[in-house]
Symmetry: C2
Subunit: 220 residues, 2 copies
């Protein structure tokens, strides 16, 4: 018995649910972004800074995935927007069914933007469509310049790369030009924004990137 046909079957089932989610997001004019990175590249910190910038009447919600704990949901909820934690109890990625379940209490007609923080994992979440408009890959400057070459899948599929923690550059031997060159070797023309959740560098550009893609622009 080979593993490949089974994985295909699981992914096909996932794709069907993801397609239905995408349909619903379109119907309600929701922009959905799926944030993917290694554990510890700063997804939650960046989302905290992002949510703080939104006007209180922004119709944004967040779904965040981890194997265990609701730490991230508690951190993100401080900004006052709806947040739901998915604990995957061992699964290494979010799948479309988990997102569908997480959304079941919410009225999608009241949302314009849905941010999904995937499980920290640079590999498996890449294969699972969640109905998002775009995947966004985060890579921190502490991780090594060759991550795009070693984990090409997500860099190929993402519409945007956020290079995070750039405030740490003075303390590291990290060649950020080379990191970006490696990412664009996998994905020519990939848009890259250099960010820091500490200094808020790049936040305006990241918010502008989101804004430009939203169906109903928010007052950021």
């Amino acid at each position: 018995m080979s593993q490949i046909p089974i994985e295909r079957k699981v992914l096909n089932a996932n794709d069907a649910i993801a397609a239905a989610l995408r349909e619903r997001f379109l119907e309600h004019g929701i922009l959905c972004l799926n944030l993917i990175s290694s554990p510890g590249s700063g997804k939650t910190a960046l989302l905290e800074r992002t949510l703080e910038r939104f006007a209180p009447d922004t119709r944004v919600a967040v779904v965040t995935g981890d194997l265990q704990t609701d730490n991230d949901a508690r951190r993100l909820a401080r900004a006052g927007f709806p947040v739901k934690q998915i604990t995957t109890a061992g699964a290494c990625h979010l799948d479309a069914r988990m997102v569908e379940n997480a959304l079941s209490d919410w009225n999608l007609a009241e949302l314009d933007l849905l941010l999904i923080e995937n499980v920290g994992n640079l590999v498996c979440p890449t294969s699972y469509d969640l109905g998002e408009n775009s995947k966004v890959v985060l890579m921190s400057v502490t991780e090594g310049e060759d991550k795009p070459l070693k984990y090409p899948g997500i860099f190929y599929k993402a519409d945007l790369m956020l290079l995070t923690k750039i405030d740490l550059l003075p303390h590291l031997q990290f060649d950020d030009a080379l990191a970006c060159e490696n990412a664009r070797q996998i994905h020519p023309g990939l848009e890259i924004i250099r960010t820091s959740a500490t200094t808020c560098a790049g936040l305006d550009r990241w918010l502008g990137w989101i804004e430009a893609r939203m169906h109903r622009p928010t007052a950021a």
Copy 2:
């Protein structure tokens, strides 16, 4: 069709190969360590410093896994010991069959220590026995103190945690006592060594930890 029985079947097949590997390692008096962490926590850098410390006649070899590229093998080979790269072509973990294949050209009677650098992933490699004596988990101080709570599996299964990149502590808001407390909440009594591949802090203790477990001590 549920996913769980299939995963079990795959794991059972893996366990059988891993058990055979473990038998062979025992027969040849080889200590085998399986290093697991997020991408970018510094497995390769720590292994570079580790290999540099060994006497030239140390009977050590390294197997290193990545989705793509042989960058890590080329970095590690500089120390002069046998190194083999496994590229998993998309798989998110090493499995016992990959290790068995990687070892096929080597005479195990000539080895005392086998270091396996797993694919950068804090989740999936945890489930795949490679016949190792111990799993070693690495966590860098750039990753956030709650990683052990969010990804408990590997911290529970590891016999040692290496807290890496401690040279960066002055530049971070990272509470290393809390990180260790979180790890020991998952795994009471877990041994933890604080290391830096930049300053070589903790290297002696890490080498001592290895030495104490080797069947035939090496002249480090």
